[in-house]
């Protein structure tokens, strides 16, 4: 993560793994977004598949459960005609004490071409990328609290789709930023794409002051944070925050930081509201907003498949 060379770029500056958005050149990100719009049109065809990854095996290694994300990766890989194998890691070898690297070595021996990895420890996909065979590509589907690059990319795709130009935007990220890998990936991407005003909004226990070096203006008041925003990205509030004494209750959070229609009035009239899902109605977001005209939460899901198809096809076509 702190290496000065990019483990995810080959010597020609082409993407061979997708581990984090931090440090990626702007045109690599735009290339992924451009490719994603190609794949959106594939959905409209009678045959919704293209043969780009035919004959390749994509292994979904989800050390943390997530049916949603795993399903979108599976759909994306199958639309590229890849063979998809889902590995129920939690219940198998790791539970028996096998180390991460031994697991990877065993899977590589089964001729995997691509690993899509979600892991509870920050940095695990980097370790895998360093130790897998040279022709194998790694996609980070979320590591600890550190990064969720495909979510960051689909969020950027969504913003580009509705707003076209990043250079004049005010983007507010609201919620549990300190525990969110989605927020970190979004912040890096927004910064690389040249968004001038990135805001982090939430109580001090969830939005620390030391986000400033990442280029974020921190707000602890929802009204101030939302004012004149072009894009609002809501983050999911997890129950553990109550047990960890970061928040007293979901009710109080909704009262002070929940996104309700009257608060939304403070943003720009054409503001879009995004959410990585799954949404907690009545906790971080009011149903009226989630289902309202500003919400682009459902299109995000469609974009997510196209973005993942783009990422997989780009990295599979580049040699180490």
């Amino acid at each position: 993560m702190l290496a000065s060379r990019h483990p995810q770029l080959n010597k020609h500056g082409e993407l061979i793994h997708l581990l984090t958005l931090e440090g990626l050149p702007r045109d690599v990100i735009h290339h992924i977004l451009d490719t994603a719009s190609t794949f959106l049109s594939v959905h409209e065809r009678e045959v919704k598949k293209v043969p780009l990854l035919r004959g390749k095996s994509v292994f979904n290694l989800f050390f943390e459960n997530s049916t949603r994300t795993r399903t979108t990766f599976e759909i994306a890989a199958k639309r590229l005609s890849a063979d998809v194998i889902n590995l129920d890691i939690a219940r198998s070898s790791t539970a028996k004490g096998e180390t991460l690297l031994d697991t990877i070595a065993n899977l590589s021996a089964m001729h995997a071409d691509m690993f899509v990895v979600r892991h509870g420890e920050s940095g695990a996909p980097f370790l895998i990328a360093q130790h897998c065979a040279p022709h194998v590509h790694v996609v980070n589907a979320g590591d600890g609290r550190h990064a969720h690059p495909t979510q960051g990319l689909l969020d950027m795709y969504t913003i580009r789709h509705y707003k076209k130009d990043f250079s004049g935007l005010t983007v507010a990220i609201i919620g549990d930023i300190v525990h969110s890998r989605v927020a970190r990936s979004d912040i890096h991407a927004l910064s690389i794409l040249g968004v001038p005003e990135i805001r982090g909004v939430g109580p001090k226990t969830l939005v620390p002051g030391d986000l400033a070096p990442m280029g974020v203006h921190v707000y602890h008041d929802l009204a101030d944070g939302i004012r004149d925003a072009d894009v609002i990205i809501m983050l999911r509030l997890q129950n553990e925050r109550m047990t960890g004494a970061m928040l007293p209750s979901a009710g109080e959070y909704f009262k002070t930081f929940g996104l309700k229609p009257e608060k939304l009035q403070l943003a720009k009239p054409d503001c879009i509201v995004m959410h990585p899902g799954p949404i907690n109605r009545g906790v971080e977001i009011d149903s009226a907003v989630a289902d309202g005209t500003h919400s682009v939460i459902l299109p995000q899901v469609t974009f997510g498949i196209a973005v993942r198809m783009a990422v997989m096809s780009i990295i599979a076509g580049n040699e180490p």
Binding site: M1, S122, G144, R145, H146, A147, V178, H179, R181, R184, P208, D210, L211, A212, P213, M214
Partner: protein, 248 residues
């Protein structure tokens, strides 16, 4: 055996010496430093041009892995590594498995180290049984078995009344207690709090953890208490006066 070490850079902090010169050893003692008696007839001469000649280095906090962590290292490997780096004396921490809270364990450790004859080992005994922070260890017995002081390694004692009693008991015999200032709850984290931990998504340990623990340990209590070298903060330490325990 008379040994002559020639033309090395002699570095001796005790005397403030830092110059190129010769060093003569006879019968295990230094008989000439800088300049050597003209009639010195060495059995062995070592050319130390370009090398530093210094008193053996002392590492104040090491882990020798025995007992309990032999898959990570053994006394031989650790002491060899020390000697290769010029470290001739090591203070080792008591967080072995089991922790060094029994005289027998200490005696075994010292015996093995002595037989290896690679570097001198000065063990710290556990301040509380099993490092659990509940019951005191037999500090007198442990000292007799060879420990030079007492420590909790990186396991803070949460119950401050027990910490006070442990310090009081140790001060009865004027034993040194080496404590890492670390609050039991604030200290739970994997990286120092700050922009880097936030950027990487790691649970941080705020400076308050050390400062709070330091303040408690040093200022209100008194007695013979020495503090370990690990103070994980760049902030200046509060001035430390010689502490004394309240009369009991």
């Amino acid at each position: 055996m008379k040994i002559l070490i020639r033309k090395g850079r002699l570095v001796d902090p005790a005397s403030g010496r830092d110059e190129v010169g010769d060093l003569a050893i006879a019968a295990g003692r230094i008989v000439g430093l800088g300049r050597v008696p003209a009639d010195f007839q060495p059995n062995r001469t070592i050319d130390a041009t370009g090398f530093v000649v210094a008193p053996g280095l002392v590492d104040l906090a090491t882990r020798l892995r025995e007992p309990g962590h032999e898959h990570e290292g053994m006394l031989e490997s650790e002491l060899n590594a020390a000697a290769a780096g010029g470290v001739t004396s090591l203070v080792c921490l008591p967080d072995t498995d089991p922790p060094l809270d029994e005289p027998g364990l200490l005696e075994m450790l010292k015996f093995r180290a002595r037989n290896l004859s690679l570097a001198r080992v000065f063990p710290l005994g556990a301040l509380t049984r099993g490092l659990g922070g509940d019951a005191l260890t037999e500090m007198a017995e442990l000292t007799e078995a060879g420990c030079i002081g007492f420590s909790q390694a990186e396991v803070p004692i949460a119950d401050t009344s027990i910490l006070l009693r442990a310090l009081q008991y140790a001060s009865t015999y004027r034993y040194g207690v080496w404590l890492r200032p670390q609050d039991a709850w604030l200290g739970r984290g994997v990286a120092a709090s700050g922009p880097l931990a936030t950027r990487l998504g790691l649970t941080g340990v705020p400076v308050a953890s050390s400062v709070r623990a330091w303040n408690w340990t040093v200022c209100p209590t008194s007695g013979e208490a020495g503090l370990s070298p690990h103070f994980p903060s760049s902030r200046p330490r509060p001035a430390m006066s010689r502490p004394t325990f309240p009369p009991t």
